[in-house]
């Protein structure tokens, strides 16, 4: 059933949120540290496990894929509810700080991504 996939995702998200707040609590702040990220890891692992055992039906997968396909429309709605006016009206200080960190980020993508283990196709074939 379609709902099985949606419920699986929801379960991952609830467990992830719980763990995120637990981690936050352990380090002394009341914030969710990486809850969504933990939920994503859970979903990757659990869905892989179930699919390897043929326990995740096509319909259940479609339940997850529906939300995945809704991702961009949801992001568009998110863009439409941003406080764009505040960004445009922000003074020079907010602009310099905000834009500066973004540009620094773009400059650093290549050097830091180079730390990734090389993924040349022939290496993968050999493994």
């Amino acid at each position: 059933m379609l709902i099985y996939g949606v419920a699986l995702m929801s379960g991952c998200m609830i467990v992830g949120t719980f763990l995120g707040y637990l981690v936050g609590n352990l380090v002394g702040i009341s914030a969710n540290i990486g809850g969504v990220g933990i939920a994503m890891l859970l979903l990757v692992i659990v869905s892989r496990y179930l699919m390897d055992r043929d326990q995740l039906s096509k319909l259940a997968q479609d339940g997850i894929k529906f939300w995945s396909a809704m991702y961009i429309p949801i992001v568009v709605a998110m863009a439409a509810k941003q406080n764009v006016l505040a960004a445009f009206d922000a003074g020079a200080l907010a602009f310099i700080a905000g834009l500066g960190s973004v540009l620094a980020g773009f400059l650093l993508i290549r050097p830091i991504a180079a730390l990734s283990p090389k993924s040349a196709p022939e290496n993968n074939a050999a493994e």
Binding site: M9, G24, V27, I29, A31, I33, G34, V36, G37, A39, M40, L41, L43, R48, Q61, I64, K65, W67, S68, M70, Y71, I72, P73, I74, V75, V76, A77, M78, A79, A80, K81, Q82, N83, V84, L85, A86, A87, F88, A90, G91, L93, A94, A97, G98, L99, G100, S101, V102, A104, G105, F106, L108, I109, R110, I112, A113, A114, L115, S116, S119
Partner: protein, 254 residues
């Protein structure tokens, strides 16, 4: 009478109206994308239309939630709110290969740490340059440069004034929107075309809204990798900026 009924019908199911409007936006955006021979991706145009609507909503209502502050379009707040956004982000992890994630793990984590430091330093130095020389103010504005959530958290923890907290939120909002707009244009030059680079990008930019929109407009296949690291960013920032970050600023400028 006719207009009244029309108004009631449109306002009856705000979320449903938002679905219909976003569907229309997507259709227009992808049609425009085709006109440019898909050199500008349809989703990038759709996000830009969303931002323009948000600006219009802000001008008309003077509110903080863009188009969603107009009563008729309040459904945008639910559709684009944190709950459905995070749910959809989690769903993108379906189909991700664990091997790719492992490769992206180390650089993603490095990016996270490096970027929180750089954002805090840049933000607090900019604050200093504009006359906010008190370590509490510097740390708060530095936190806002990490993300618009870290700023207020830092400010509240250290007891910053509301003016400074508002400034830190503004810095974070500028960052988030700059990431949305700039990513599709800078992706190629910056080497943002594989899972590891996406994880690094997520760790460097950190703003979940900016990263999720930026990658959606660039290459939807990269979304899960970037989103995964980005979702750790705000929590990590809330942890280190008011503590280690503030202490470092205090030691240097106090």
């Amino acid at each position: 009478m006719f207009l009244d009924i029309l108004n009631t019908a449109l306002g009856k199911y705000p979320l449903v109206l938002a679905f219909a409007c976003v569907g229309l936006i997507m259709w227009v955006a992808y049609a425009l994308g085709k006109l440019t021979n898909n050199r500008v991706h349809g989703s990038a145009i759709a996000i830009l239309i969303g931002l323009i609507l948000a600006y219009i909503g802000g001008v008309l209502t003077d509110g903080k939630k863009g188009i969603a502050d107009i009563t008729l379009f309040s459904g945008f707040a639910l559709m684009g709110g944190g709950m459905l956004r995070d749910f959809a982000i989690v769903s993108t992890a379906f189909g991700v290969k664990l091997e790719e994630l492992k490769k992206a793990g180390l650089p993603g984590a490095v990016a996270l740490v490096v970027s929180v430091i750089i954002a805090t330093v840049l933000g607090s130095l900019a604050a200093y340059a504009f006359g906010y020389t008190d370590p509490v103010d510097m740390a708060t504005i530095g936190g806002g440069t990490v993300t618009f959530i870290v700023g207020p958290v830092t400010g509240a923890a250290l007891g910053a004034s509301s003016e400074v907290i508002a400034l830190s939120v503004a810095a974070g909002v500028v960052k988030s929107i700059a990431v949305m707009i700039l990513t599709p244009f800078l992706a190629k030059v910056a080497g943002l075309d594989n899972p590891a680079a996406a994880a690094v990008y997520g760790g460097l930019m950190g703003t979940t809204s900016g990263v999720s929109a930026g990658l959606a407009a660039t290459d939807p296949k990269l979304v899960p990798y970037g989103a995964l690291t980005a979702t750790f960013y705000t929590g990590f920032g809330c942890l280190v900026v008011p503590s280690v970050g503030y202490m470092a600023i205090l030691a240097l400028f106090g």
